[in-house]
């Protein structure tokens, strides 16, 4: 009986002929590993780039966003579970090969392509080929991912990815196992790898009541970010809303979001944000040097922007990001 091993993520699914991997979209067929979703996204939208969330990349521009069915994690709170926890036979898929993705992006006047919604790791080949063509047309490639990927495929991909938002869902292995049926260590390694290989990284931590909302967890996470990837990596705290398998929990209290935001600032992170609480000061960017308001946002809307040529308009401190 022939067996092949997928090496895209830590699961290292060993598959006999006709068997599918855990992600539902990679299959052993005719002695080879096949992807079932190349060129066939089930979600295609134009989103504000701030929705990813990416706050330090081409503000107030549209990102042409695509995703296929499948995912290599199984998070209990997934907001995209209708596509991430389904095989491609159960989703409505478009025929959109890589060159057409780029053509549609240009037609829509978007400056970037976002590989998002489910997890682009599982449509790796589609993302990779599209990203190569996108660069030839001066488009940015944005990867919105949970980061559960092995080092080799990630290193191959990094030259084609300009920015990434990585879900740093929690800071304990126990959380990753119980909440996501996954592992923390490969995600931490992936974040470091992306940073070291020139990808602009922003992180998102979804705070879920009773699961990862303790002061200890939040502080540990902030310290890891500061010590490992640096205080200039933006950290977005996102407010949880009940969905999928966690409809029994309440939304995250705004007070908890405030606490997380304050902890991040007290731990020395320069860019901490609060998401899913429109109108909160944490939607906006402040200069880490003089504290002045740089980019005023309400939700995804930008009302003011005082970042000029990548610097604070007032004190000329460099504000890291991809501003043009």
């Amino acid at each position: 009986m022939k067996i092949i091993e997928c090496q895209l993520c830590k699961r290292k699914c060993n598959l006999i002929e006709g068997q599918r991997g855990d992600c539902r979209v990679r299959l052993h067929l005719d002695g080879k590993l096949q992807t079932l979703v190349y060129g066939n996204p089930c979600s295609v939208h134009i989103d504000p780039i701030e929705k990813k969330p990416l706050f330090h990349v081409l503000p107030a521009t549209g990102a042409f966003s695509i995703a296929t069915a499948g995912c290599n994690m199984h998070c209990k709170y997934c907001q995209n579970w209708q596509i991430s926890q389904r095989p491609p036979e159960e989703t409505h898929n478009y025929d959109l090969p890589p060159d057409r993705v780029v053509a549609e992006t240009l037609k829509a006047n978007c400056k970037s392509i976002a590989y998002t919604y489910s997890d682009p790791i599982i449509f790796y080949e589609y993302m990779y080929d599209t990203a190569e063509i996108a660069h030839k047309h001066n488009l940015l490639n944005l990867m919105i991912t949970a980061g559960f990927i092995e080092e080799k495929p990630l290193l191959d991909l990094c030259p084609h990815i300009d920015a990434a938002n990585v879900d740093l869902k929690g800071i304990t292995e126990e959380y990753y196992q119980k909440m996501c049926s996954s592992e923390l260590a490969p995600v931490l390694h992936a974040i470091e790898t992306m940073k070291k290989n020139g990808v602009w990284v922003e992180l998102t931590n979804l705070i879920i009541p009773t699961w990862n909302d303790s002061e200890k967890d939040i502080r540990t996470l902030c310290r890891w970010v500061k010590d490992t990837v640096g205080p200039d990596v933006p950290l977005h705290f996102s407010r949880f809303w009940p969905r999928h398998l966690l409809k029994n929990l309440p939304p995250t209290p705004v007070e908890t979001m405030e606490l997380a935001w304050n902890i991040a600032k007290s731990e020395g992170l320069h860019y901490a944000y609060v998401g899913n609480v429109p109108g909160h000061d944490g939607n906006s960017t402040f200069c880490p040097n003089d504290g002045k308001l740089l980019i005023k946002r309400i939700g995804y809307q930008i009302l003011e922007n005082h970042v000029v040529d990548g610097k604070c308009e007032f004190c000329k401190t460099e504000i890291l990001g991809i501003w043009s």
């Binding site: 022939k2 090496q7 067929l29 036979e89 080949e125």
Partner: protein
Amino acid sequence: MAQYMKKENKYFILMLIIAAALLVGIVAENIVSVILPKTVRLNIDVEKVKQKLSQAGIVTREAKHWKKVR
């Protein structure tokens, strides 16, 4: 000796022997399942898999980052 025992006692001893045998069998099965490796026999009808993919309009393409194990 058995011919001098009451009928009820004979049945009681028989039930005891059956119960003991069951207990030994259960314990032995548990020990074997711990010692021997677990094997899962998968029987996949590959032609059926191909047929279902075709019906769903799914086109396969060789993936990157995999290796043959055996």
